[in-house]
C-alpha cells in the first residue's frame, strides 16, 4: 500500500504544474488537529509576487498577466466531525487561490451537516485583457481590459434522504473599459468606439427530488436574467463630429427541467426534459454626424426596438439493458427544438438621402431528432469490444423576409440534413497494467449548413498505456479527416495528433514526468472574394500548422527538509518551414492569402520552485518562471517576462 500512496502523493505534486505559484501542498491529508469533536487541517501561503516584462506588455497581459504585489497565494481549511454528528456542521471546507489581486482568483466553500443540508459555493475572478491584436500582426480594433466575476451557490436540504430540496443562485458579471469600432456608412470610414462594458447575468433556481411509483423524480425551475447596459461614446476621431448611442438590452430565460430514473435488475431507464423560454427586450438609439464617402456632412439616426423570443424544448431518453455484466446495450434518443422569433422594427433615417429602411423580424427554427445505440461487450478478461450507430435528422427553417424601403427580400426556406455515423472500438489488456485501445468512427452528412461542417468525416484513434506502481507510459495517435465536395470549391481538413507522455517515481524523493505532442493541421477551403471590383473564384485558402509541444518536470525531495521542482514547457508551431511570410506557391496565388497560410510561433516557459521547511509548520518557498513569446514573421507582439514569488506557508 505504501508505494501506491507515495506514487499518488508524488504525482499530485508534479503533473500539470504550469504556473509557479501557489506552492502545492502535498501533506494536507496527513496532518490535522483534533478539537471539540472535529479534526482541523489548514494551511495559508502568503508572499510577494513579482514580474518584469520586456517587449509587448499588452500581449503579456493577454497571456499571463501576473503583476507585482503581496498575495494570499493559497488557503486551505478543513473541519470534519469525527463522529458525523457535529452540532451545526459535519464538514467545512474552504480553499482559496490568488487572493489579493492575482489575475486568476478563486475561492470555494463547502459546509454540510449529514442528513440535513449541504451548501457549496464557488467564486472566481479573472482579469481578462485582450490587446486587440490578431496573430497576423494586424490590429482588429477590439480592445478589452475587463474583469469577469462568477459565483455559484447551491443549497441542498436533506441530501441523504429520498426527499431533497434544492436552492441555487449563480451570477456572472463582466465590467471594464473596452474599445470597439463603428462604421456609420456602409463602405465608409471606421471610427473607434469607447465602451464601458457592463454585463450581468443572474440565475435563481429551486428544485426538488422525490420517489414516485418506483421512479426517482428530479425537477428544477429557474430564472436566468441577463442585462447589458454598456454606455458607448465616440473617441479619438475629429471626423465623427457628433455621436450618441444608447443600447439597453435586458431579458430573462425561465426554465423547467424534469428528470426521471428507474433501475431494475438488468435494466435502467432515465429521461430528461427541459423547456426554456428565452426573451430579450432591446432599444437601439443612435445619432451621428460624420462626413460621408464624398466628404459631405451626413446626419443619420438609427432607431431599433423590439423583443426577441427563443423558446427551446429538449428531451432525452436513455434505456440501458445489461443482461450480464459483460454486455451493455444502451439506446439514447434526443429531441431538440428551438425557434427564434419576435417582433422588431428598425428605422434608419439619412438626412442626406432622406432614405428610410425598415426591417421586420427574421425567423430561425432548428429541430433535431437523434437516436444512438451503443454496445459494450467484454468478451474475455483481456478483450473487449464496443460499437455504435447514430442517426440524426435536422430540420432548419429560416425566414429571411424583411422589408427594405417597403420591398420584401428573401423567402422562407426549409432544409433537412441527415447524418449517419458508426463507431467501433476494441480494448486489449494482454497483461496487467498494459491497455491497448483502438477506435474508429465514420460519418456522412447529406446537407451540412456550411462547407466547413463537412459532408463526410472519419476519425481513427489508437492508444497504448502501461502503468505500474512506479512507472506510467501513454502513447496516443489520432487523426480526423473532414471533407466537403462542392460544385465551385471544396473544403477539406485533416488533423493528426501524436502524443507520448510518461512519469517515473523510482523512490520517495524523486519523480520525473515528461510529455511530447505533435499536432498537425492541414486545411484547404474554397474561397470567393472581390479584388478591385472583380470577383475571384476557384481559389483555395490554405492553413497549415505543425505544433511541437514539450513538457518536462522533475521533483526532488531533499531529506524531508525541502523540495525542489524543475519544469519546462514549450510550444512551437514550425508551420511549413518557410522563412518569410511569402507563400510557398500553393493554394491561392494572391499574396494576401499566401502570407497567412502558416504562422510560426514559439512560446516557452521554464520554471523552478524551492520549498524549505523552516519549522514543523512553517515553510519558505521561492519560485521563478520565465515566459517567452516570439512570432517568426511579426516581432511587434513578442515579449519576455520573468515572474516569481517568495512566500511562507503556515500549516496546522
Amino acid at each position: 500500500m505504501r508505494p501506491i500512496a507515495i506514487a499518488l502523493l508524488c504525482s499530485a505534486t508534479l503533473l500539470a504544474q504550469q504556473t509557479v505559484a501557489p506552492t502545492p501542498d502535498v501533506n494536507v491529508s496527513a496532518r490535522g488537529q483534533d478539537w471539540s469533536g472535529y479534526n482541523i487541517v489548514g494551511s495559508l501561503e502568503t508572499g510577494y509576487r513579482f514580474a518584469t516584462v520586456g517587449g509587448n506588455y499588452a500581449q503579456y497581459q493577454s497571456m499571463v498577466n501576473f503583476q507585482d504585489g503581496i498575495r494570499l497565494l493559497s488557503g486551505y481549511l478543513s473541519m470534519t466531525s469525527k463522529d458525523g454528528h457535529g452540532k451545526y456542521f459535519d464538514e467545512l471546507l474552504i480553499t482559496t487561490a490568488g487572493l489579493g489581486n492575482d489575475p486568476y482568483e478563486n475561492a470555494m466553500l463547502r459546509i454540510a451537516k449529514n442528513g440535513l443540508y449541504r451548501y457549496d459555493m464557488t467564486w472566481r475572478r479573472n482579469d481578462y485583457v485582450n490587446p486587440g491584436l490578431v496573430t497576423g500582426g494586424a490590429n482588429d480594433g477590439h480592445f478589452l481590459d475587463t474583469q469577469y466575476d462568477m459565483q455559484d451557490h447551491d443549497l441542498t436540504l436533506f441530501p441523504q434522504s429520498n426527499l431533497k430540496f434544492f436552492l441555487g443562485y449563480s451570477s456572472t458579471a463582466q465590467s471594464g473599459p473596452a474599445l470597439s469600432s463603428i462604421q456609420i456608412e456602409s463602405g465608409g470610414a471606421i471610427y473607434p468606439l469607447f465602451e464601458n462594458v457592463s454585463r450581468q447575468q443572474h440565475e435563481y433556481r429551486v428544485g426538488n427530488e422525490f420517489r414516485l411509483l418506483g421512479f426517482r423524480v428530479n425537477w428544477m425551475h429557474g430564472w436566468q436574467d441577463f442585462k447589458e447596459d454598456t454606455p458607448y461614446s465616440q473617441t479619438g476621431s475629429s471626423a465623427l463630429t457628433e455621436f450618441q448611442r444608447n443600447e439597453p438590452y435586458h431579458g430573462t430565460s425561465p426554465y423547467w427541467r424534469v428528470m426521471l430514473f428507474r433501475d431494475l435488475k438488468n435494466f435502467s431507464v432515465n429521461g430528461r426534459f427541459t423547456y426554456t423560454g428565452g426573451n430579450r427586450d432591446f432599444i437601439f438609439d443612435e445619432t451621428s454626424i460624420s462626413p460621408n464617402r464624398i466628404g459631405a456632412q451626413q446626419n443619420q439616426q438609427v432607431l431599433s426596438f423590439g423583443d426577441a423570443k427563443r423558446p427551446v424544448a429538449t428531451g432525452n431518453l436513455t434505456v440501458s439493458w445489461f443482461p450480464v455484466s459483460k454486455l451493455t446495450v444502451t439506446n439514447s434518443t434526443a429531441v431538440y427544438s428551438v425557434r427564434t422569433e419576435g417582433d422588431s422594427s428598425f428605422l434608419q433615417y439619412d438626412n442626406a438621402t432622406q432614405a428610410v429602411n425598415y426591417l421586420s423580424y427574421q425567423y430561425l427554427g432548428i429541430r433535431t431528432v437523434s437516436n444512438e445505440t451503443d454496445l459494450n461487450y467484454q468478451a474475455l478478461s483481456w478483450l473487449g469490444f464496443s460499437g455504435g450507430f447514430q442517426y440524426s435528422n435536422r430540420l432548419i427553417r429560416s425566414d429571411q423576409v424583411f422589408t427594405v424601403g417597403g420591398s420584401p427580400a428573401g423567402s422562407p426556406y426549409d432544409q433537412t440534413d441527415q447524418q449517419r455515423s458508426g463507431t467501433v472500438g476494441i480494448r486489449l489488456r494482454p497483461y496487467k497494467g498494459l491497455t491497448v485501445l483502438l477506435n474508429g468512427e465514420i460519418g456522412t452528412d447529406d446537407h451540412p449548413l456550411t462547407p466547413a461542417a463537412g459532408k463526410t468525416y472519419h476519425a481513427l484513434n489508437g492508444k497504448v498505456q502501461y502503468r505500474n506502481k512506479k512507472f506510467s507510459l501513454t502513447a496516443n495517435a489520432q487523426s480526423n479527416y473532414r471533407f466537403t465536395p462542392v460544385s465551385l470549391s471544396a473544403y477539406s481538413s485533416e488533423s493528426r495528433t501524436y502524443s507520448v507522455s510518461g512519469s517515473y517515481t523510482p523512490n520517495e524523493w524523486l519523480t520525473f514526468d515528461a510529455g511530447y505532442s505533435r499536432l498537425h493541421i492541414y486545411s484547404l477551403g474554397g474561397i470567393a472574394y472581390f479584388e478591385n471590383l472583380q470577383l475571384v473564384q476557384g481559389e483555395s485558402s490554405l492553413y497549415l500548422s505543425n505544433i511541437n509541444a514539450i513538457n518536462f518536470g522533475a521533483r526532488f525531495a531533499l531529506k524531508r527538509r525541502g523540495e525542489l521542482y524543475l519544469g519546462y514547457n514549450s510550444v512551437q508551431d514550425v508551420g511549413d518551414g518557410r522563412s518569410t511570410p511569402d507563400g510557398a506557391g500553393i493554394a491561392s496565388p494572391n499574396p494576401v492569402f499566401q502570407a497567412i497560410q502558416t504562422f510560426p510561433v514559439t512560446f516557452q516557459s521554464p520554471m523552478a520552485r524551492l520549498s524549505i521547511r523552516l519549522q514543523e509548520r512553517l515553510r519558505w518557498n521561492f519560485g521563478y518562471q520565465y515566459y517567452g513569446y516570439r512570432e517568426k514573421f511579426y516581432s511587434a507582439q513578442d515579449y519576455r517576462a520573468s515572474t516569481g514569488y517568495s512566500s511562507l506557508t503556515w500549516s496546522f
Binding site: 485582450n130 430565460s253 434526443a334 467484454q378 464496443s386 432544409q415 492508444k463 494572391n590 497567412i596 510561433v601
Partner: protein, 302 residues
C-alpha cells in the same frame, strides 16, 4: 396492493434474512484495517455509518465490499469484494448500485470513458484521495492530463482557457461520466461535453452575452456551435480562433458555393465594395462587430 402487503409482511418478519446474518458491521472491519478506519470519518461514505439509517448492504465497509463474515473467517481477497481484483464492468456495477440515479451520471453506460474501459476507480481513490472533493485520486487536471496529453499541450499554448492557472477545471465544460447528446453539430460530437441551460454549449455559462436570442442570429453559431470558428482548449491564434487571421475563417464559408446557407443557395459572398487588396477589408470584424448576433443589423454591423 396485495403484493405490497405480502412484501411488507416479509420485510417485517422478525426472522433475520440470510443476508443480514452474513454482514458483520464496520466495527469488525476496523480491527484488521485500522489504517483505513482511522481516516474513514473524512470519507463521504462515512455518512452511511453516521446516519445509521441504511440497511447493512448499503452501510460502511460492507456497503461496497459486500458481506464480511466469510472474510472474517478466512481473510483473503477471495472472500470479500476486493476492487483491485474486479474487472472494470463489475466495478462500475458496484458503484452504480448507489450512484446511478443522478443527473450527472445518467449517461455513464454509454460514455466514451466506459466504452474505453475507464471506470470509477480509474479517477477516484476511495481510501487514499488527495483531492479536497469527490474522492479524486489526485488533482482533476492531473487525472485528465494523465491520459489526454494532447489536451495538456493545447492548454499550454499562448492563447487558452485558464485551466493550468486554476481558474477553470475540465469539469466546467465536460462531464467525465458522460453527457447527453449535444444539441449542436447534428447531436453527434463533441461527446462528454456538459451542457448549459436549454442543452446549449457550455461556453454560454461564462459568455452569456453570446447567448441571445438576437433578432439576427449568425446561424452557424446556433446550428453548429462555437467550435465552428474557435478552438476551445487552446490555440496559437489569438481569441482561440481556428485561423491566424479572421478573413480566411469567414471566406472559407462565405464562398457562395453549393447549396449551403440558410437559403440553400450557398453562404453569401462579399459584395463588390469589399476590396481584399485593401487592408481595411481584411479585418471583417472591424465593421461586422456583432458577429455572434445582432438586434439591429442583418449583417452584424451594429
Amino acid at each position: 396492493m396485495t403484493c405490497r402487503l405480502i412484501l411488507a409482511a416479509i420485510c417485517l418478519c422478525p426472522v433475520p434474512s440470510w443476508a443480514a446474518i452474513e454482514y458483520v458491521g464496520s466495527n469488525v472491519c476496523k480491527t484488521c484495517h485500522p489504517d483505513i478506519w482511522v481516516r474513514f470519518y473524512k470519507n463521504p461514505h462515512f455518512k452511511s455509518i453516521a446516519m445509521g439509517q441504511e440497511p447493512p448492504e448499503r452501510t460502511g465497509c460492507e456497503g461496497c465490499h459486500g458481506p464480511g463474515q466469510a472474510h472474517v473467517k478466512a481473510p483473503s481477497k477471495a472472500t470479500i469484494v476486493a476492487f483491485s481484483q474486479l474487472p472494470a464492468e463489475k466495478i462500475l456495477d458496484n458503484c452504480l448500485t448507489c450512484h446511478s440515479q443522478s443527473i450527472t451520471r445518467a449517461n455513464i453506460r454509454r460514455s466514451s470513458h466506459t466504452l474505453n474501459g475507464l471506470v470509477c476507480t480509474g479517477c477516484h481513490s476511495i481510501h487514499k484521495s488527495t483531492a479536497p472533493k469527490f474522492l479524486l485520486a489526485s488533482r482533476q487536471t492531473d487525472l485528465c492530463y494523465g491520459c489526454h496529453q494532447d489536451v495538456r499541450s493545447q492548454f499550454s499554448m499562448p492563447f487558452k482557457h485558464r485551466v493550468n492557472e486554476g481558474f477553470m477545471q475540465c469539469t466546467d465544460c465536460h462531464n467525465p461520466h458522460g453527457a447527453f447528446m449535444p444539441t449542436w453539430r447534428m447531436a453527434a460530437r463533441p461527446r462528454m461535453v456538459e451542457q448549459a441551460l436549454a442543452n446549449e454549449e457550455p461556453c454560454l455559462k461564462c459568455h452569456p452575452e453570446k447567448r441571445g436570442p438576437f433578432v439576427f442570429e449568425h446561424a452557424p453559431v446556433r446550428v453548429d456551435g462555437c467550435e465552428t470558428c474557435h478552438q476551445p482548449h487552446g490555440s496559437t491564434n489569438s481569441r482561440l480562433l481556428r485561423r491566424p487571421v479572421v478573413f480566411t475563417l469567414c471566406l472559407e464559408c462565405h464562398n457562395g458555393a453549393g447549396n449551403f446557407g440558410l437559403q440553400g443557395s450557398g453562404e453569401p459572398t462579399q459584395t463588390a465594395s469589399h476590396n481584399m487588396a485593401d487592408p481595411r477589408f481584411q479585418n471583417c470584424t472591424a465593421c461586422h462587430v456583432r458577429i455572434h448576433g445582432s438586434n439591429t443589423d442583418a449583417t452584424f454591423l451594429r
